[in-house]
Symmetry: C2
Subunit: 334 residues, 2 copies
Amino acid sequence: MYKIAFDVMGSDLGPKIAVESALEFLKNKKDLMIVFVGDKTQIESVLKEEKNVDPSQYEIFSTTEVIDMHGSIFDVKRKKDASLVRALELVKDKQVHGMLTGGNSGAFLAGSHFILGELPGITRPGFMPTFPTAVEGKVTLFLDAGANNDNSAEDLYNYAKLATTYSKAVLGVKSPEVGLLNVGTEEGKGKDLQKDAWKLLTADKSLNYKGYIESREMLTGVVDIMVTDGFSGNIALKAMEGTSKLLLTTIKATVMKSFVAKMGALLMRGVFKEVKRKFDYKDHAGAILIGANGIVFKSHGSNDIQGFVSTLRMTYDAVKNDVLVKMKKEMGIQ
Amino acid sequence: MYKIAFDVMGSDLGPKIAVESALEFLKNKKDLMIVFVGDKTQIESVLKEEKNVDPSQYEIFSTTEVIDMHGSIFDVKRKKDASLVRALELVKDKQVHGMLTGGNSGAFLAGSHFILGELPGITRPGFMPTFPTAVEGKVTLFLDAGANNDNSAEDLYNYAKLATTYSKAVLGVKSPEVGLLNVGTEEGKGKDLQKDAWKLLTADKSLNYKGYIESREMLTGVVDIMVTDGFSGNIALKAMEGTSKLLLTTIKATVMKSFVAKMGALLMRGVFKEVKRKFDYKDHAGAILIGANGIVFKSHGSNDIQGFVSTLRMTYDAVKNDVLVKMKKEMGIQ
């Protein structure tokens, strides 16, 4: 039985959506138990409403404090009984195989650092979401998506190594191709960071390094892994999200202005469904904090059920494929 | 009569497209003369094919050398008679009011630096393209889009000042709103660069500074001007371009798989035309090098006629609105 702790208190919308998402996900995962970490009364009131819940598939770990979206990173030290803190402690104490939270990113990063620490050799863990690509069934692992403001070339090199292990173990990619985000594809482009990372990545023959990739190529599925610093990564990812959302919204709004277009949109329903399925960010709403000494995931706090279920799936896949042990081995730790 | 020098040799596709674009643009601009800078024989052979060309609206400045896309920045010093070099010299010698090129970016930046120099107080000119937004008729000026790898907070502050002058003079915006690209909107987010730039921008009450903007908001038309460093700017812009292109391509490809969807697309033709018109990057294919001591524009080398015409329009608008003099005044130079 795999065990995952779910901090259900951090999400913007309260624990209801989080608990419902977990119950939805559990339906088809008979080898999984979820530990709901949070306010017992609130969690139980959601559970009471649900039928067909297998009581052997969940536990409640009752906590009395919450670090909300406006909380500070120091709350991790101040609020000993916060759901986020307790969920991380369950990972540390090996009571669970992994955890996820929809809560405060800063507190999550600080909590992971203080409670779990990092894998030896890693100084700055990175957020690694996946995003869908134009190639059917292919996702790209992208990091750092914003856990850090600054990264060193060594960080980027370590990200490539950890993500390669993850890609092999969890996604089953045999020889994951690695790209380095830059403003051009020719050698010599970019800042010292990119040039130094290029050297490290080229020197390690165990990596399938493909060179620089421009952000306009990111979604084409040209590589399995894209590494960059947390600042650029956050800028690139949000630009993609914003553009995709705005384009689809604009198409919808323009359709509504004309009867003929509405008829057309009806006939094109299958197309939009397909495109949405392909590029839906809600199906990629979570990110592992890679480099942390534990399997810990951050989900968007504004998630709906689809978003939380996608993060639960990623956490489950990482746990089931024993990715932490494999990453430790890759980093030379037995 | 306004005079603009057009380096027609730099483009990937040869001078034909460039000359044809200029003739197309000249049709409705009777107060403009274009100086074609490049190989006389090639230019004349394109001109011969065209009817209805008013010979008082163009001149040819014959050159014997070319700096192509693979040229180095040192070619600016080595190739004295390169079309790019001559076009920049025409600006310096006040033979023309401005110039544009579809050529090599690196050589263009080096040439502008050596031949024109910068406005006093400016150390790193920036590429400033415009991009369309969700707000009908509103474009956002965006800089630096990649002229530099690194920028200081002072650069970003100067960009805000120059772009504000440009927005007022060329776009007629009364009080242009300025945003600073960052990974979050709260004060304290980002690197030292963003924090220091925030201070400078907040302190100058002549600017209409609106604070940090995330890249997912860029296309919403939330501000008139977005400033950032050249590395992040390039990443953000290309991510937007790539996403927009890929989404529309995917919709098209998915439509082609089904007869019903094809019928739907036919009925939705007006919608796609409208969306394409709104977000067509080809209508925004040029960028002024702002901070250079002259009105100089870079157009994509891979442009078609639509792309070059859009850059010609921007150059013409900048020249006609005397933007260099206004920027000099803003920077305290009479």
